[in-house]
Amino acid sequence: MDPILFLIFAAIAVVCGINVVLQTHPIASALSLICVMGSLAVIYLLLGAQFIAAVQVIVYAGAIMVLFVFTIMLLNAGAEKKSAGSLVSRAVGAPALVALLGFLSYVLYRAFPNPLAVRFGDFTLGTAESVGKAVFTTYLLPFEITSVLVLIAILGAVLLAYKELD
């Protein structure tokens, strides 16, 4: 059951990922990106990382992408025109893509020579308890530093917005 579900949602993720680039209308691209986020959440769930799957949906699909869609709608961005592309991109594009894919598969194969290392539902550290423990013990300093970083970003955004208002 698990491999079938993985293949289905991996395929959805890849197809939607390609669709993000192919679509000319920004809303269509954004919606494809949401589908990618959703399929990734299902794949996290299949691997046993329930908390991360839920947070993936809440944060990415539920908050960040809503803001993307909101902005696109607010600016009323229309469909973009497809350019014919330069001669170089048409000549080198396809071979470069194949070369990149080959290189990536080679690196991944070298890094993980044993494909049995990943098994569905094997990862037990994805529950809310273990993520919480890891964040507040082992990774406390990076976690706090990240939160300060986010706070600075928020302050910067508020400052910029205030300047705009005056």
């Binding site: 809303i27 919606l31 839920a54 809440i58 539920g62 909101f70 709608m73 529950t127 809310a128």
Partner: protein, 396 residues
């Protein structure tokens, strides 16, 4: 029994009950608002308008399904389906009662006990905004677009206090499973104060409950936060261009979201299926007494009918109430019916509150809505969470 077969049966029962409730919730809402405004409400189709929802459904099904020109067809059709689908999914993790024996099979009165149940509901509720936004954008019309924009801003703003308000009872319960949260509220302080999270030591979640309810009003787009469909400014907001069953889909989704919100509040704050007081003091007889009292009242109205038709209908209602009261006294059925009664009584009271508020409060202005969310509700929710966390750390 086979897990898949059992799940299918439970899902069928749950969907049937939910859709019937959705159908009649609209009747209840019209009746309650009518009586608040000293009107009769639906009264022509069937006794006391009881067949009105069915008549409305037939009307909506047979109406012409218009597709305005210039719409984005795929998204225009997708939006109402998305709204219904997302609003029906989250009911699957709500626990309605404890484990029960039905014909030799022990099962929980819950479709699935996911151990991230709370997060699942939050995730799905954070996705419901897409239905409204896409409906508004794909209609290719000004009013729906404005409604969709308002809705996305409103729902993102109110999701933050909602999340913070949900986190506080989780600190008390120490679990994310909805079943675990209810079971953990099943005891009584001093034998008579229920340990529901709203009364729970060390910090009763009264404020959390109020913040949760307010945020849920905004998340479900109900009055006083129904700006995405403000009639006086936006015609009908995001569903202006929809007709027939697609229009009805948005209404169904709104009611289903309301049911989920009230069930969530019941589970998180009001102790789920746990009775108000211990069975030692006779809480098992509360439903029977209540239904018998309702039956007596109906019979009294049959003798002194306020309207002409009541002389015939009221005895039937009275008899039905007495039969219900008798059913609640059968010991074999009590194990199933009592938890269900307490759950539905609490959730039903909250749904009544939703309707009550709609009948009495005016709508916010848009800037008031945003200021309220960011300057009052969000800080209050954070403060509630901080105090709860501090007290749990000190006492627990």
């Amino acid at each position: 029994m086979n897990f898949y077969l059992l799940s299918l049966i439970k899902a069928a029962v749950m969907v049937g009950a939910l859709l019937l409730t959705l159908l009649y919730l609209q009747w209840v809402e019209r009746k309650v608002i009518a009586h608040v405004q000293v009107r009769l409400g639906p009264h022509r189709v069937g006794p006391h308008g009881l067949l009105q929802p069915i008549a409305d459904t037939v009307k909506l099904l047979t109406k012409e399904d218009l597709m305005p020109p210039g719409v984005n067809k795929f998204l225009y059709v997708l939006a109402p389906f998305l709204a219904i689908m997302l609003s029906l999914i989250s009911i699957s993790v709500i626990p309605f009662g404890p484990a029960v024996d039905v014909a030799g099979v022990t099962t929980w009165m819950q479709l699935a006990d996911v151990n991230i149940g709370v997060l699942l509901i939050l995730a799905i509720s954070s996705l419901t905004v897409y239905a409204v936004v896409l409906a508004g954008w794909s209609s290719n019309s000004k009013y729906p677009l404005l409604g969709g924009l308002r809705s996305s801003a409103q729902m993102i703003s109110y999701e933050l206090p909602l999340g913070m308000a949900v986190a506080a009872p989780l600190l008390l319960s120490n679990t994310l499973s909805l079943r675990g949260i209810v079971e953990q509220q099943s005891h009584y302080y001093f034998g008579f104060i229920p340990a529901w999270n709203i009364f729970h030591a060390p910090f009763p979640q009264v404020f959390g409950f109020i913040i949760f309810l307010i945020a849920m009003f905004a998340e479900t787009n109900r009055v006083p936060f129904d700006l995405p469909e403000a009639e006086s400014e936006l015609v009908a907001g995001f569903h202006t261009e929809y007709s027939s069953m697609k229009f009805a889909g948005f209404f169904m989704a709104e009611y289903a979201n309301m049911i989920t919100a009230c069930s969530m509040a019941t589970v998180l704050f009001l102790g789920g299926w746990n009775p108000l007081f211990s069975p030692r003091y006779g809480s098992n007889y509360v439903p029977a007494v209540l239904f018998a009292a309702a039956g007596l009242m109906a019979l009294w109205f049959a003798l002194h009918p306020p309207h002409k038709g009541d002389r015939k209908t009221m005895p039937v209602f009275g008899l039905a109430a007495f039969v219900l009261a008798a059913i609640f006294l059968v010991p074999a059925l009590q194990a199933i019916l009592l938890p269900l009664f307490w759950f539905l009584a609490k959730a039903g009271f909250l749904i009544f509150t939703f309707i009550w508020v709609r009948a009495t409060l005016p709508r916010f202005r848009y800037d008031q809505l945003m200021r309220f969310a960011w300057r009052f509700l969000f800080p209050a929710a954070i403060l509630n969470l901080l105090v709860t966390g501090l007290l749990v750390a000190l006492v627990g």
